[in-house]
């Protein structure tokens, strides 16, 4: 395999570069996916029928916790990639591990949030608003869940094979994915929760 040594590890192979470009294009598609969900959400948010409005059900505490957890995890995965570039395998694995734990905690709070909504009578089937709210949040949550497994597999592979162009490439792509989920969350936080609470 030809290696281009002027580039960081994850870009060294031809296939590695293809993977990264392909993944960026995939993220473009993901942007469209979430944009469609957001557009639908904005249209349906006022249509609460006889159910509760956003202002009535949103609570700032769990949402803030979720935000802090996810933002921190984006930071730690950045540190992980940095460690990877320095060739420090253990540090990289630790940071990826912390990232996943934070992600897991995020997911825990989100599940709590969902059960809370259902308990106070804002379940999936109540109104157009609750339906699209849970679908939008759920799509993001499903992405996080998938990310947890994916990240775990990558840690295991780095552990097994070390930092090779291949594992580094996978880890880097995973970090792009994770940052992207964070960006989506910022939108959710600002335009679903904050705007909804106002």
């Amino acid at each position: 395999m030809k290696l281009d040594n002027s580039l960081p590890l994850e870009y060294k192979t031809e296939q590695g570069r293809l993977n990264i470009l392909g993944f960026w294009i995939f993220l473009g598609a993901e942007v469209m996916l979430f944009a469609t969900l957001f557009a639908t959400y904005f249209i349906l948010a006022p249509r609460t029928a006889s159910g509760p409005t956003g202002a009535e059900i949103f609570e700032i505490t769990p949402v803030l916790i979720e935000t802090i957890l996810l933002l921190t995890s984006s930071f730690t995965i950045g540190l992980g990639v940095h460690a990877m570039r320095l060739g420090r395998k253990n540090a990289m694995m630790t940071f990826f591990g912390i990232t996943l734990l934070l992600g897991l905690a995020f997911l825990g709070v989100e599940i709590y949030e969902f059960t809370h909504y259902v308990n106070i009578g804002a379940g999936l089937q109540v109104s157009a608003f609750t339906g699209i709210l849970m679908t939008t949040l759920g799509t993001h949550g499903a992405h996080v869940t998938l990310g947890l497994f994916w990240g775990l597999f990558i840690i295991l592979q780095v552990k097994k094979y070390g930092l090779t162009p291949k594992t580094a490439n996978k880890a880097f792509i995973f970090s792009l994915y994770w940052h992207f989920l964070d960006v989506v969350w910022i939108f959710i936080f600002s335009f679903v929760y904050l705007k909804g609470m106002m």
């Binding site: 293809l18 473009g28 598609a29 993901e30 109104s127 157009a128 339906g131 799509t139 592979q157």
Partner: protein, 652 residues
Amino acid sequence: MTYFDRFAIPHPSPAIYASMVAIGLTVIAILFGLTYFKKWGYLWREWLTTVDHKRIGIMYLIAALLMLFRGGVDAIMLRAQTAVPDNTLLDAQHYNEVFTTHGVVMIIFMAMPFIYALMNFIVPLQIGARDVAFPRLNALSFWLFFMGAMLFNISFVVGGSPDAGWTSYFPLAGNDFSTSVGTNYYLLSIQIAGIGTLISGINFMTTIFKMRVPSMTLMKMPMFTWTALITNAIVVFAFPVLTVVLLLGTMDRLFGTHIFTMTNGGMDMLWANLFWVWGHPEVYILILPAFGIYSEIVSTFSRRNLYGYKSMVASIVIISFLSFLVWAHHFFTMGQGALANSIFSITTMAIAIPTGIKIFNWLLTMRKGRIEFTVPMLYTIGFIPIFTIGGVTGVMLGMASADYQYHNTMFLVAHFHYTIIPGVVFAMLAGLTYWWPKMFGYMLSEKIGKWAFWFIAIGFNVTFFPMFFTGLDGQARRMYTYSEATGYGPLNLLSFAGAIVLMAGVAILVYNIYYSTRYAPRNIGSDPWNARTLEWATQSPVQSYNFARTPHVESTEAFWDHKKKGKPLFKGKIEKIHMPNNSGMPFIMSSIFFVWGFSFVFSMWIPAIITTIAIFACMAHRSFEKDDGYYIPVEEIEATEKDSEVLTDETR
């Protein structure tokens, strides 16, 4: 027993029972044949597990032709039912199901795979690449599409077909008005196929951006590759919208949300909007590759380079952009107000400008050219006037105030068939005939091909031209019958006669494939049309590794330059070539997707959960798999190249 009731067909008829028997017998025959001729191993090794873009292209092609047959049978049933007033061949429900499956099959399961068949086969060759960027994902795309298509196609014998039109508008498609599982089939099968298409979009964009031979700058790409690039860009941006809209529809139907319902705050028009935000770009996904194919053919058979290459590129880029801004023209009459209607009216008509530029470029390419009336060229020349009628009537429909007269009439049906049939079907048949020798190493008979062309072209016009008149006269679309007093009878009968001729044309085409496979000469060389672009610089049929040495490109017509101006095409010496390994995973994973979709259609949650986990297990398996492909050694390449007549610089 109540559990099994769900699989019953809501409106059974003898025809459906007959189809069940026919499907059963065909499956048994295939299984028996494979076993008897001991072909299982061959099928698995060479096809089901292949990651070669050329073989995947051929599989897309076979699937597309099968679906053309299925959609064609539906079409004949529709025209037969409306051939005479007050006909009772099909009842209203059955007619609803048939026009729905006709539309879906033709657009999603015929036109799309046809396009991807040609893109798969040709694009990597035109850019001098070894394969696509992600060969295994490419196989996954195909199998997801295929399993989606199969899921859709079993609907009419298990549980009932969708019946709310290919646009599946809510609330009609919601639980209240569509009580069978038909619409579930629609939502899930298109979802599965759509994910496959999205993956293809990413794959081809990456391929075209990154895998061109180093000397091929963007503005030296052949026209078909350009259209493929832009088409896939539209796919990447439009298909996620479809993913979401299908997801939301599924939520409504299976999980009781109120997104598109009439009650609890739901908004039915949201479906129409979201659907067409994907749907209109989709029609350009269908038409742009066709433009690319015609561009290749026009310049090859006029023996001239393409007129106005740059304006061609510019116009496809503009078309792709505008295609996202016109969606509301599909429901001018649904009350979104004069301002919105006016804006969408203007954007709609604006698309006619870049499209017109392309038409003039083709005409100017032919001017002063030495035109050869081969079969691909006949389709191209036929396309121009027919498509222009489609475009002009499109502009008529695009005038919002006038659309109140045309909307939902046969006039609309005539319009979009006048764009889609010359735009997609003619182009695909032209492309198929043109590239057939590259794919299979022999040519289709020109003589039989011309017969097929004339039957298809005349049959098409006889079928659809009368609809402009009945439509203006007020005949509504999607109505299963009409009374004698309306006076629509004679023109509809004429239309039915045209459909028969069209069908006969397709039969001649199939016969041509059979005849040529048996009798066509095989020693035709690798460049039978005297063509211009890189794909013709390979052997026919193409070697698994495509090019032994990286070609060198100086213009959009590298191969022509090489032949006429003696520009060297292949420099350097042969090196070992890296190739991807075959894999059964795409096929297995897609099969699980089939069961997954089926479980959702019938709300069978336990298999749905199991298959969901299984799908993720497949992805995990892929993540841990160690597979670096293999190398073809230099000696082997030299051996295969030696007895080929591929042009080497030494021999020219």
